[in-house]
């Protein structure tokens, strides 16, 4: 983009003000952390941060697709919990079996969502709420309501434990590959254009002859698959399938997507900005933990929830002012 002579930095910044702001905030926080804490940039912190947050990054990316179409997927956390149990059961067969099958199970839940939303015409909020309850119940049923230990003898746990360059766990590498893939789909393919068009106006897209239903179905399949992958990371990173995990993950994912500047009304959104949003939310906690460690503040876990909500509040205020500005400009232009 930089070599094109049409590129105008000022215009780019004003048009993408929020994602630019997110990136600036992200780098500012990283710089702050590096300067203030000795071990912040250390291999242990970086790799455990990336391993833990890779789950949230991947479900946020799936959520981003759904939200761009104007939908919502509340089932991601429960689906991840379900697939973590599935992955744990399949772990003796190795990662090459457990990973694809668990992701497929996630896709199947996505298909259930898509069926309810597109065929039965149930609003996404309700359809995915039901899937959330169903997957949560299902995870508890198949696991007998207890954590399922993975098989440490197979290569399954390598995904969360082994690191590339001693720094990047396989989980974040896989998520990064998936992210690039999704980014390319959204930005360059006709499917991506259709997805953006649906969010802009579903009826108009249908009238234009776009394959709206197919694109909408795919969006939920993608989100389900992403949740499935998050479940595999969960099981491999923590050594067990966790049927009780995933509570409020959907809300973290929605928050990341919103922080990344994707409008909930749909029609607009970016994968890199969503990743930045997820990293930013994760980093706020990482830094709070370091502050706790230094003893300058002693925030209980309860304060973290309050701060998390306050942070979301600040972002939403920022975003609502931005969109107001954008709308006003659009009206005068």
């Amino acid at each position: 983009m930089l070599n094109s002579d049409a590129f105008d930095l000022r215009k780019y910044v004003s048009r993408n003000s929020q994602s630019v702001a997110v990136w600036i905030a992200l780098f500012a926080l990283i710089a702050f952390g590096l300067l203030r804490y000795d071990n912040f940039g250390g291999a242990y912190n970086v790799s455990s941060f990336l391993n833990y947050n890779s789950m949230f990054i991947v479900i946020s990316m799936g959520m981003c697709f759904v939200i761009i179409t104007g939908g919502i997927d509340l089932s991601v956390g429960s689906v991840a919990a379900f697939t973590s149990v599935v992955a744990a059961y399949l772990s003796p067969y190795g990662l090459e079996v457990a990973l694809p099958l668990a992701v497929l199970v996630g896709v199947a839940f996505g298909a259930l969502n898509a069926f309810c939303i597109i065929v039965l015409r149930i609003p996404p909020f309700i359809a995915t709420l039901a899937t959330m309850l169903g997957a949560k119940g299902g995870a508890l049923v198949i696991s007998g309501a207890s954590t399922i230990a993975v098989d440490w003898g197979s290569n399954f746990t390598r995904m969360g434990m082994e690191k590339v360059f001693n720094l990047f766990p396989w989980s974040i590498v896989i998520v990064a590959i998936v992210g690039v893939f999704l980014w390319i789909i959204l930005e360059t393919t006709s499917l991506g254009r259709t997805i953006l068009a649906i969010g802009g106006g579903e009826d108009a897209s249908t009238l234009m002859g776009l394959k709206v239903n197919r694109a909408k179905a795919l969006v939920y399949l993608i989100s389900g698959g992403c949740a499935g992958l998050a479940g595999v990371i969960l099981a491999s990173g923590f050594g067990a399938g966790q049927p009780l995990e995933g509570i409020a993950w959907e809300l973290s994912a929605i928050a990341s997507v919103v922080v990344g500047g994707t409008l909930l009304t749909g029609g607009l959104g970016s994968i890199p900005a969503t990743v930045a949003g997820a990293l930013l939310l994760g980093l706020v906690f990482n830094i709070l933990n370091f502050e706790n460690g230094r003893g300058t503040i002693s925030f209980s876990a309860y304060w973290q929830m309050v701060i998390r909500g306050g942070f979301l509040f600040a972002v939403i205020l920022f975003q609502s002012r931005m969109t107001k500005g954008r709308k006003a400009k659009g009206a005068t232009a």
Partner: protein, 326 residues
């Protein structure tokens, strides 16, 4: 009417389910319980279910109003926890011990005011800043329970206070007090919706917000009011739960209540797009949700399976609604 033809006299199941699905479901569940659940026809069972259903119904009625404007309120469970955490803090404080009557009054009024303030926050976010209801109420969903836990250091607050516990354990005419309370709230809200200008606007906003605004309606005020009512009712439910248990646990009070309330409202006939506020439907929905829980529990079905059943009920209810619209 004069001619009866055989197809009309026979029971038509399709339309019956569509128009009175909730009632049919209730009858089926009741029949099942009477036949199969041991000791179902006992006063004790009735008491247990009424005291449980009252909190769901109270929150669900508030949720129904919010949904009628086309909104949603995810923060009800967190507001319950917050209100529930405040009450024991107040009547167990030095002030509350010195002046028991004033302490109880403050322990009832202050949490409800705080809950109302939470609702005002939600309402301003939605109506003034135009934030989507899911996101706007997500803020308090996340931080409200955190505030409650910060206030109590995450400790379980136990107490024995007869007058406060009346809210959850008292009986009027032999039936639990909170059941009567829920009924009274339902009657008031029903009158508000059907007889007042405020009620007209609630439905008008859900039907077509732009039109309501262009017609000069006080859309912003009404929307803020609806979120305040919803949060206030959630606060009341939080107090009742604390009174029932004689203990306040900020981590558990109202946990997942938003799901039960939304489910009850939807099963009761509320349309997520807005425009309808079936207050008594919300009570019916709450009764169905509670009875399904009770039925599965009493028959030894695990909690996990009950979740799946709840999911099925929600889907079925919305699907039936959807077919009615078309």
């Amino acid at each position: 009417m004069s001619q009866s033809n055989p197809t009309q006299t026979s029971l038509q199941i399709g339309p019956l389910l569509r128009d009175h699905g909730g009632v049919v479901a209730l009858i089926v569940i009741l029949a099942f319980n009477i036949l199969f659940t041991p000791n179902f026809l006992q006063l004790q069972t009735l008491f247990v279910n009424i005291s449980q259903v009252a909190t769901i119904a109270i929150v669900a009625m508030g949720m129904t109003l919010v949904i009628a404007t086309g909104g949603i309120d995810l923060s009800v469970g967190a507001v319950m926890a917050l209100a529930g955490a405040l009450a024991p803090l107040i009547f167990q404080s030095q002030f509350g011990v010195d002046y028991p009557a004033l302490g109880i009054a403050a322990a009832l009024v202050v949490p409800l005011l705080v809950a109302g303030a939470c609702g005002m926050f939600n309402g301003v976010m939605v109506a003034v800043l135009n934030v989507q209801p899911i996101i706007a109420t997500l803020i308090l969903f996340i931080s409200g329970r955190g505030i409650a836990q910060v206030l109590t250091n995450g400790n379980l607050q136990t107490f024995s206070n007869k007058s406060f516990s009346y809210l959850g354990t008292g009986k009027v005419l032999g039936l639990p007090f909170q059941g009567w309370l829920a009924l009274a709230i339902a009657v008031i809200l029903f009158l508000v919706i059907s007889r007042t200008i405020f009620g007209r606007y609630v439905l008008a906003i859900g039907g077509n917000e732009r039109a309501a605004r262009l017609a000069g309606g006080p859309v912003t005020k009404v929307k803020i009011g609806v979120y305040m009512i919803c949060a206030g009712l959630a606060g009341l439910a939080g107090l009742i739960v604390v009174a029932i248990n004689s203990a306040s646990d900020a981590a558990r009070n109202g946990n997942l209540m938003e799901l039960d309330a939304i489910a009850a409202a939807v099963v009761g006939g509320a349309l997520l797009q807005g425009g309808r506020a079936p207050i008594f439907g919300a009570i019916l929905g709450a009764v169905i949700i509670q009875l399904v829980k009770y039925t599965l529990l009493a028959n030894g079905v695990e909690d996990e399976v009950a979740l799946i059943a709840k999911a099925g009920i929600i889907l079925a209810a919305v699907y039936v609604q959807q077919t009615r619209k078309e």
